[in-house]
């Protein structure tokens, strides 16, 4: 049969001549989803403020530790427990006086650069430590969120795309994992892994990806029955192409929104672990260890608690508000 079939060669195909009017029509991008979403997002004042706060805090987390002459682990007992002092900000309480209203700087005749956020009991500069801690907390949260994203997208994608028995099996695993209170599992894992940045990230990822995978699965299940996927399949697209060219880009909205809520959760878990004594070990700092430390001494040195507490709250609020804004902007249907 195949012998007498006519050979189809490339030169049998001829380009359709381009019409002037049609070219114009095609050159105009069909209403761009991302552009529209950006406009919607920028209209949301809360989300914009959140975004700006996140950017400012991130910049300070990177450059803050370099802004004065102190290192985050440099101890100097002559400078221990100095209250915060910043020129021009005395009215905010950063005036170098302790809880008994005596100026410690004058009392101990300290002349070198003042500690803007005060110092801890070993004389380590808290401005440097707070921003270093923010840096580490953000790093842990971003890495954990990124790993959650990768595993969740691949797992959820495969489960939904192949469906049937594969999906059944993979969802049974998820169902069991969802039933486990994740914080307790995280605590158990940290106990064996020994506290440290890597083990905190690993412990959080072990249960963290489940949520992302469920979102991705749900979305892809909806998408895969639609015509554009069928069309692409009919044109001979491979599984890989279908997945990465058609399905994943269309799930990007919910993925980004979920990611925005994963990051504050990760920051919370890190701080939580540090607070119950399973976090980083000194001289390393994270927002959680700083809050824990500040909490121990808040009676006499309340500034040690207040600065990291403000920063962690600001980060959490900003991410939550931005996440809400993104959800409304990217997918008004998802609104709850």
């Amino acid at each position: 049969m195949s012998d007498n079939r006519q050979e189809i060669t490339d030169d049998l195909f001829v380009h359709e001549p381009l019409e002037e009017g049609k070219a114009e029509e095609i050159a105009n991008p069909p209403s761009n989803f991302w552009k529209e979403a950006t406009v919607r997002l920028l209209k949301n004042k809360g989300a914009v403020i959140g975004l700006i706060t996140i950017i400012v805090i991130s910049i300070l987390a990177i450059f803050g530790p370099l802004m004065n002459e102190y290192d985050y682990r440099e101890q100097d007992l002559l400078r221990s427990n100095l209250p915060p002092l910043a020129a021009g900000l005395e009215w905010l309480g950063l005036d170098g006086t302790n809880s008994h209203h005596t100026n410690v700087y004058e009392e101990r005749s300290i002349t070198n650069a003042p500690a803007w956020f005060g110092t801890d009991e070993f004389g380590r500069d808290l401005w440097t430590r707070v921003w270093k801690g923010t840096q580490i907390s953000l790093f842990i949260a971003l890495t954990a969120a990124f790993l959650d994203l990768m595993i969740g997208v691949i797992y959820g994608g495969i489960s939904a795309y192949y469906g049937g028995k594969v999906d059944d099996f993979m969802q049974r695993i998820v169902e069991v994992l969802v039933g486990i209170p994740n914080l307790i599992l995280i605590i158990l894992f940290i106990l064996i892994l020994e506290p440290g940045i890597t083990s905190i990230i690993l412990a959080m990822v072990i249960t963290g990806w489940v949520n992302m995978s469920r979102i991705v699965r749900g979305q892809i299940l909806q998408l895969k029955g639609q015509e554009f996927v069928l069309a692409s399949r009919a044109l001979g697209a491979s599984h890989n192409q279908l997945m990465w060219k058609h399905l994943i880009p269309n799930v990007m909205g919910p993925i980004i929104v979920t990611l925005m809520f994963t990051i504050p959760t990760a920051i919370f878990f890190e701080a939580f672990l540090s607070f119950i004594g399973l976090g980083l070990q000194p001289p390393l700092a994270s927002l959680g260890t700083l809050i824990e430390n500040g909490y121990q001494e808040m009676r006499y040195f309340s500034y040690k608690l207040i600065f990291p507490a403000i920063i962690i709250s600001a980060i959490m609020i900003s991410f939550n508000v931005l996440g809400d804004g993104l959800r409304d902007a990217l997918d008004p249907k998802m609104r709850k």
Partner: protein, 312 residues
């Protein structure tokens, strides 16, 4: 319905078995045994202790012994406090945790309802923005940060309430308040969006058109329907209350289950850690189960029996 309940019970059992297994083997991987302190104990003493608690037997036997004991509701003996059973320790400490947890949920539900209703009825006014802002703060600020600040200002600086410890009822107020923050915020947000949705429904207009007083429209038609989906957040809220107690009890020195858990982690008391983990997990799974069933009963539109409406 019965089929659904049985199926869910089956799942619960499997999940619990897996949690038991994970907990058991993770505990085996922990560095050190409870009796590996050579300064306090001689080799002979360590040997006797290991023998007494069955730690010298092969792992598989230890595992099945543990499973067998669990089936009889026996969580084992504490390795650190002489001769105390884990059951007794949990029973002794569950009281304060249940009290502050329960009060936290009630306070949170009431405050959340009030905030949410105000928000929805005064939609897009300063009241709405105010309560949304409060809700965002409550969702975002970590409970232990909030608790620490409360303790500092209310307890230490202004001396309005006792800052820590557990003597009489007044000692339970601040921990309960600290736990209620997240509940308030979650419920307020949820009630707000649900009510806004219900307010736009035709049957609300019908009720108004019939001349029913605005107050009873809100209570009987809007609120009743808006409350149903709130049941779904109760599960996750129960979990956050449970994890919240871990830190809140530490901060306010409440002699509850959470404090025991953090304490046991510090002293490597395996059996107590395992016991409390399983207790928390079982409670959690049970709450989720209850919530699912309750939801099915409250909202007849949801078919949980896997009937015709269940399109998947």
């Amino acid at each position: 319905m019965l089929k659904f309940i049985l199926q869910r019970l089956g799942y619960m059992a499997i999940t619990l078995l897996i949690i038991i297994t994970i907990t058991f083997f993770l505990m085996q991987l922990l560095p050190g045994t409870p009796f590996s302190n050579p300064e306090k104990l001689s080799d002979r003493q360590i040997e006797i202790m290991n023998e007494k608690y069955g730690l010298d037997k092969p792992l598989a036997i230890q595992y099945f012994t543990y499973l067998g004991n669990l089936l009889q509701g026996d969580l084992g003996i504490s390795f650190q406090s002489q001769g105390r059973t884990v059951n007794a320790m949990i029973a002794e400490r569950i009281g304060p945790s249940a009290l502050i947890g329960g009060q936290g949920v009630v306070i949170g539900l009431v405050l959340g309802l009030i905030l949410g209703i105000i928000s929805a009825l005064k939609h897009n006014t300063i009241f709405d923005y105010g309560s949304v802002f409060v809700a965002v703060l409550g969702m975002s600020i970590p409970s232990f940060v909030f608790a620490a600040l409360m303790q500092y200002f209310i307890g230490v600086k202004w001396g309005l309430l006792p800052a820590a410890l557990w003597k009489d009822y007044s000692y339970s107020i601040m921990p309960s308040l600290a736990l209620s923050v997240l509940v308030t915020a979650t419920v307020a947000r949820f009630i707000r969006s649900e009510m806004l949705e219900v307010l736009g429904q035709d049957y609300v207009n019908t009720a108004r058109a019939k001349g029913i007083k605005e107050f009873s429209v809100i209570i009987r038609h809007v609120l009743r329907n808006a409350l149903i989906p709130v049941v779904t957040v109760l599960g996750p809220l129960a979990v956050s209350i449970m994890t919240g107690t871990l830190v809140i009890e530490k901060i306010f020195a409440v002699p509850g289950l959470g404090e025991q858990f953090t304490l046991s982690i510090l002293v490597n008391d395996y059996s107590v850690i395992m016991g409390i983990t399983l207790f928390y997990s079982a409670l959690f799974i049970f709450v989720i189960f209850l919530v699912d069933i309750l939801y099915g009963i409250l909202d007849p539109r949801i078919s949980i029996g896997g009937g015709k409406k269940d399109v998947r």
